[in-house]
Subunit: 154 residues, 4 copies
């Protein structure tokens, strides 16, 4: 019986030490995650015949997946990537910046990396930002709807 | 009789103008094309547990699709895109540049846009280059095998 | 007597050449200076559990020291460096630009190198700008408090 | 007794599910880690009166810490950062690229992101690359010695 209790303690301490270590770690976004999010976003876009670029970044801001639907303006490749980059770098939806600028805080546009147009969303695992999605091609409000639909599938 | 000759002339001129016009068109690479090529490339890569980035560009050198398999080095995102860009811009496999440099023509590295490493291939419709594929992540010879497998599906 | 006048002339000419020469020198910001300023700034940030990037530049606008506190958004690396760059290049606190934009002078955002958000301060030796500090990570007012605390230690 | 066994099972399953989750995670490089590595590298450099830039990046290739010792050439700021970036992006010491080029594989210089000069090393946690160090300022062999001394302290 005493041995058993000791065993339980060992297991508990192991779990505890493990969870302490876990606080310094972060989950990685897989290609499978990225494609599922992209599929959901593309599916939402097709519903309304919207043509967009969908970009998915990892926690370091590097592309995991990108797709450009037929007919989408070329400029949306960079816009989609940069919306995602902005959401990732500043850990917030790019709509927050759009709203700020619209309400008079124009100066934040001068910050390097800020894209102040809806359509970029961070992807979170609990509190931690582990990636982001950026959508561009239609109106910024529509881009935002598509990005949100993608994120919902995660 | 005179009317007949005039009619023939009209038809001939129409045909001529048509064929002149036809020479100015090009097939567009669709997202469906790009995903099919990417699927074939990814499938070939999985056969040998190779992790790579697969990038597909359109005729203008802009991304249509990109995917990064789990565990692929981050640097391969840019390398994959730039291999594809180089193959598209110069209408030839990047292996041609690699072979040239290896045989002593080192100076061509100084050309802006040249990536002299195998793994980038133009995508052709007849004579015309309508896009390109770039693969990066394993050895350049293996990247080349994956890119070729992708292109074969087109 | 004649010899005395010559001696005086020699001394005067020497002093003159010296003071002319002296106007062309500038104190160099050392790594020790930069780390002391950074330590003071970091210490102020920790007081309120603020997570920020602290960047210190020399008179030429090149990094002498940078540190990113745990949990700071990635975007603050570039923002911190660019706030410092802006303060250095234009010899004024970036808050001056923020106030200008807020009071209606939006056009100055179009100047290359201008970041119109508080948090960047020039480091002076007398009249001369010999470097700068840039802080980013919390609100711009808080970034400004941290930057000022760093500068105070100099 | 039966209840106890059930409890143990619950704990074990918890640990197991936790460790499965852990396979997808990665340890984060802290500022404390980065400063300890930088201190060790700087200390090694001072031994021989070498002046260098020491740059530490996180897993995403973003600066955690940088310091430039007095008298170091300005160009070493970018070189140090790019050596670290290259080591991180390609998960190998930059010396591997230097050796490859020296032995005739000049073509790899054309890969975007490749710096083929010793002085950049990946920082690993087991098999996983969680950051990198880049050193520049003296000869590439000396830069490499300093980087290795930094890494040893980790």
């Amino acid at each position: 019986m005493k041995q058993l209790i000791v065993s339980i303690w060992v297991v508990l301490v192991f779990c505890l030490s493990y969870s302490v270590h876990a606080q310094e770690t972060t989950r990685l976004l897989s290609l499978e995650d990225a494609q599922r999010i992209s599929d959901a976003a593309e599916s939402r876009a097709r519903q309304d015949n919207w043509n967009v670029v969908i970009a998915i970044l990892d926690a370091g801001g590097h592309l995991v997946a990108l797709r450009r639907m037929d007919g989408t303006q070329i400029g949306s490749v960079d816009v989609g990537i940069q919306k995602a980059t902005s959401a990732l770098k500043f850990k917030r939806p790019t709509k927050v910046f759009e709203d700020a600028v619209k309400s008079g805080n124009v100066h934040i546009i001068s910050l390097p990396g800020v894209v102040a147009v809806e359509g970029g969303l961070p992807i979170r695992d609990g509190d931690r930002v582990i990636g982001s999605i950026g959508v561009s091609g239609v109106t910024s409000a529509q881009d935002g709807i598509i990005a949100a639909a993608g994120l919902e599938s995660f």
